[in-house]
Each structure stands twice: as structure tokens, then as C-alpha cells.
Subunit: 220 residues, 2 copies
Amino acid sequence: MASDHTRSAILAAAERLYADRGFGDVTLRDIVAEAGVNLAAVNYHFGSKDELIAELFVTRSIATNRERLRELKAAEEQGGGRAPIEVILHALVGPTLRGCLGPENQRSTAARFMIRASIESVPPIRRIKNREIDHLRKFAGAMRRALPDRSDVDIYWGLNFALAMAHHTIRESERLTKLSEGKCDLDDVEDVVARVVSVATMALTAGRAETKAPARVAAR
Amino acid sequence: MASDHTRSAILAAAERLYADRGFGDVTLRDIVAEAGVNLAAVNYHFGSKDELIAELFVTRSIATNRERLRELKAAEEQGGGRAPIEVILHALVGPTLRGCLGPENQRSTAARFMIRASIESVPPIRRIKNREIDHLRKFAGAMRRALPDRSDVDIYWGLNFALAMAHHTIRESERLTKLSEGKCDLDDVEDVVARVVSVATMALTAGRAETKAPARVAAR
DNA sequence: GATAGTTTCATACAACTGTTTGAATTGCAA
DNA sequence: TTGCAATTCAAACAGTTGTATGAAACTATC
């Protein structure tokens, strides 16, 4: 136990460097230099480089997931065990988007780190993401309760598309800004959330016919 | 010139290995061993490892982009310079999805390579992707012609969401299969394409009011 | 204030990386 | 066949990486 000073200095320095330069070209030596500690300290306190990365990512994603579930639970309780689909989707994508987007100059280190984690996907992070399924199932359950007429398949596709829009917008936010010549304002986070929720809601509530029978659009 | 045998053996071996094991842990030595050539051959024929990766990726994405534009051009010509939005979106996401999804056991090496490239995102590939903007602008133009009443902002968001759904579905196909316990059939590529196109079309054609004024969903 | 346990440190280690070199080999043209 | 260029090869290079070690410096307890 004791001071914990070195430990947290490493965590802070690592998060900052990974956020700024990505996982690819940040070495342990960079981290300990930034933290002002000895090279051996990382292995002493965390066991290995991968475990350091994992701890950083777990900490942040636990926070996001807790926030998600808090919103979801509150909404379902308020609705007597069943929340409107928009509110569920809002709870799903809101915390993530709020945690990663927003004016670039006031973006927290944590936010920038999570964007990196979303873009680069190194092994220790991938391993953790794979355990996220149980968490997502809770949302699938809530969505099923909100839309009892929908098939499971449609529910899962809706969930998939909602996450797709949120994560892709985070990953490619720079490109979207460039492509739209700044017309798409990614700093207005609540507008982004609203757009994602709106489209995902439509995907989940639109007449099934259109979704199922593709109308076989003139392919070629 | 000459035989070109070594060159193409390297390309094939590299694509196979990257497809199978990812960029992270495939070394030049792995590649030359698989190709049955000398270590120095990569630098002799390609200049560097990154240029080898770049050539692989460029070749495949040029093919996809050409297919996209072919479909787009055909559709616009048939409609006298203006194609229906569904058809445009179909041309945008169809080739990519068709190139990456489909029954796993009959998935081409090229397809698996492109999935990897979509997941891992190493520097040489990222550099190439950044040059894709001009290509996307052509689709933005076609979409504007198809939906003259829509604002540019809405067009770009629709384009962004369409790509989001396609790419995320490719990236996370394994997770979606697991999450849905196999209920979402990712082998039925045309169904996936139809779903993506359908949702993106809704996003682009839905009443603007709903999209713009978020209805301020009960946040908390 | 000696002692036991924790933490820090400089340093070495061992392995792997992409790249280069210069000689050997090959293939083709004169 | 001779000569010249293109290609292949084994070997070494130069650098970096994460990790391990064992001594030194702390810190708190008795």
C-alpha cells in the first residue's frame, strides 16, 4: 500500500501518452520518463505492460457501463419495469458519446484515451471488450420488454446499429468533420446523441415489411 | 520485371498471414518463410514492410471503390442523372459488405484481410483511408441530387451512419453472432445489405422535425 | 534504533524487429 | 560464350522492446 504515488503517476502518465500518441508508439520507457519513475516500477506495480493497459481501460469502461446501467435502471423503474425504446437507446449510447465527444480542447484525457482504445484495439483491450456481451444483454432484455412485438433478430440488429453509429462516429469524428467541411458539429454532443437515438429508434420501430423484404433494390 | 514470381508469392503469403493472425504478430520473417523466399526479398521488391501492407490494402480497396462507383454510375445513368437514395446507398455499402461477409468457410483471403484491416488499423492503412474522402464526396453529391430538399448536414450524417452500420457490422460480426446466439445470420449478405440500406434510407428521409428537435428524451 | 518489509533504482538481459550489405547466382542480350 | 543487369541469398547490423535482477533506499513497527 503505502504511498501509491508511483502507481497513480504511472497510470496518469500512461493515459496521457496513449491518448496523445496512440498505443503503437508509446513504450514503457516513454511512460516512466513522463511519470518520473523508474523503468522497473511498471512491472513491479502492474505485472506487465498489458496489465497496465488493461487496468486503464477497465477503469474507464466500468465507469461508462455503470452510467449506462444507472440510466437504464432509472428509466425502467420510472416506467414500472418498462421504459420507452428511445430512453433505453439514450442510456446505451449517451454515456459513451458524452464520454468521448465534445469540444476537442476541453476533452479530458480519459476521453481521448477511450477514443484511442476505440480506434487502435490492442490485444489486452480486445480481450476486455469481448467480455462486454453480458452487459449488452441487459440492454437487449430491456429493448425486448419495450418492444414485445419485435423479433429477437430485429432487437439485436437494432442494438448493433445503435452501437455502430455511436462508435463509428467517435472513431471517425475527424473524417466526418473534414468530409462535411465542418458542417457536422461533433462538439454538440447532445445533438449527436439525439441523431443516433432517433435513427436507431426508427430502425427498431419501422414497419417490419420494409425491413424484412428487401424490395430487392435494382442491383446493377 | 522478369518472373515476378517472388513478388506475388510474398503478396499472397502476406495477405494470408495477415488475414489469419492480424498485423500485430506477423513479422517479415513469418511472411518470407510462408512464401519460401529470402528475407531481403521484401525490401528489395517493396521497399519496406509498410509499403507491402499499403500495396495489399490499396489493391483491395481500389477494387471495392471501383465496384461502388460502377454501381453508382449505372444507377444515375439509368435515372437520367438522378438515382433513388436506396440505390445510392446500396452502391455505397453493398460492395464492402459483399466483400467482407458471407459464409466464413468460403470467405476469400482478400475478404478476411479486409476485415483485419478494418479491425486493427495500422499506420500505413490509416494513411490510405484518409485519402478516401474524395471518393466519399462523390456519394455525397449523388445523395444531394437524390434528396435536394435535405440539408448538407443531414446528407453527411446519413452517409456517416450508413458507413457506420456497414463497417461496424463487419468489425463486430463475431460479437453480434455471439450476442444474438446465432439468430442474426451474417452469412445472408444480401439481407444485411438490405437492413443497412433500409435504416440509412429512413435516417435520410424521415421527417426532419424528429431528427432535429431531439424531443429531449428524459435524460436521467 | 535495530529490524523486517516494501519500494525504488541502475543495469543487464534476451529476444526480436525491420533493414542493409556484399557476395553469389541467375537470366538474358550481344 | 561473354558481359551486364536483375535477382537471390546468408549474414550481420543497429536499434528497440518488455522484463528480470539484486543491491540500495526507504518506511513503519517494535
